[in-house]
Amino acid sequence: MEENTLSSQPAAPGAIRTEEMLVNMGPQHPSTHGVLRLMLRTDGELVLETIPHIGYLHRCAEKIGENVTPVQFVPICDRLDYLAGMNNDHGYSLAVEKLCGLEVPERGHYIRVIMCELNRIASHLVSFGCYGMDIGAFTPFLYAFREREYILDLFEATCGARLTYNYLTIGGASLDLPEGFVDRLAWFLDYFEPKIDEYNNLLSYNYIFVKRTANVGVISVADAIAYGLTGPCLRGSGVKWDLRRCAPYEIYDRFEFDIPVGMPGGSNGIPPEVVVGDSWSRYYVRMLEMKQSVRILRQCLQQMPAGEFRAKVPRTLKLPAGEVYLEVEGVRGQLGFLVVGENKPIPRRVKIRGPSFCNLSIVPHVCRQVLLADVPAIVGSIDVVMGEVDR
């Protein structure tokens, strides 16, 4: 705790003097999702200003990227947004493939989409559960983790890992899907889809929950775009923008799915207190996105062909001179990779655009003149993963 008193001087006569305090929220704090540190300037329960301090989880991912080959770097990608390792691997692989001009076989595409969407569900489940905890509802957290466990079981059966997969790699996937995967996945989708409605009834429409999150931390469209917000945070503000649709990559143009956006309250079963762009909208977009992911997964299972799952990738892949910047729609927003090659097996530069990094940058703008209890509600609804912010 740093000592306080920004204004220890007696105020001018007649002026009202209030007691301001600097409070350190994090890096060890239950609701900062890892090691985020927020300096709050508070006046009683009122937070006047929020200053995020990041970097506690900086692991030099970009420096490592300049020193290892792309295939070696894929495991590091897993550790960026450690809740959505598949999506990170996918983004990096796509960037390298684009730079080298590699073609991924058909089945590889489908495996990638399946894994990415499954991981999106898993990650949104964590986000849903943790957000409930931020608001003070403990129980949904365990329900979310129960469902996530099924997905992790699937991942484990596929690649042997439950968190850092190193599965989607340059040229496709490193292994084929295991036997019985399709049936298990189909079972899981049937099991899981009705649960989303259950959780909506349990938490999303809960009166207290709505009161806590609706009209809290409202981000306007202009702000969202200006601060470079992407993913559910951007869509929560009512912008129907999703790279899977707006700049299609992989094979997402083959699937039918909707892009949920934040809607004003009062219609479609949305509580009347809700304002577009508030914490509730961001949270609810994630709930709806899980449904869309289930839809995509079902279509994948129908369309998936047999065949090769990985392109022939030379043992030492030389990255041609030139650079490529590629963004994919990660779980938390647009995950971008800038890869600069120079005719060597290792790239000159790997720049990672972590969506959480940009999403977090709006926190000082939003967490002003809010109550202390709103800070976890806002930061939780932005859903940052510090591994990706600090890289």
């Binding site: 220890s8 007696p10 006569p13 007649g14 009202i16 003097r17 209030t18």
Partner: protein, 102 residues
Amino acid sequence: MTIGLTHYLILAALLFCCGLFVMTTKRNAVGILIGVELVLNAACLNLVAFSRYRVGTIDGQIAALFIIVLAAAEAAVAIAIFVNYYRMLATIDADKGDELRG
């Protein structure tokens, strides 16, 4: 040895004197308020003791009841004033409040 009126009165006198001392010497305004509470308590104790040992009715208790209620009201106003005082002068030292101009 039975406990009688004098015992209570002496105890009340002690509380009263302590309260008086706190009131006169403490510089923290809230401390002064605490002194006032002590004095009021002493008074209440006296009233109840008199009503029990000298009159035998409950009138003293009623008076003490009023004192307690009024003390609560007094504390509420006093704390409100102190909070404003602190906002104005950035101190709770009662000696600093010698200006009348707000």
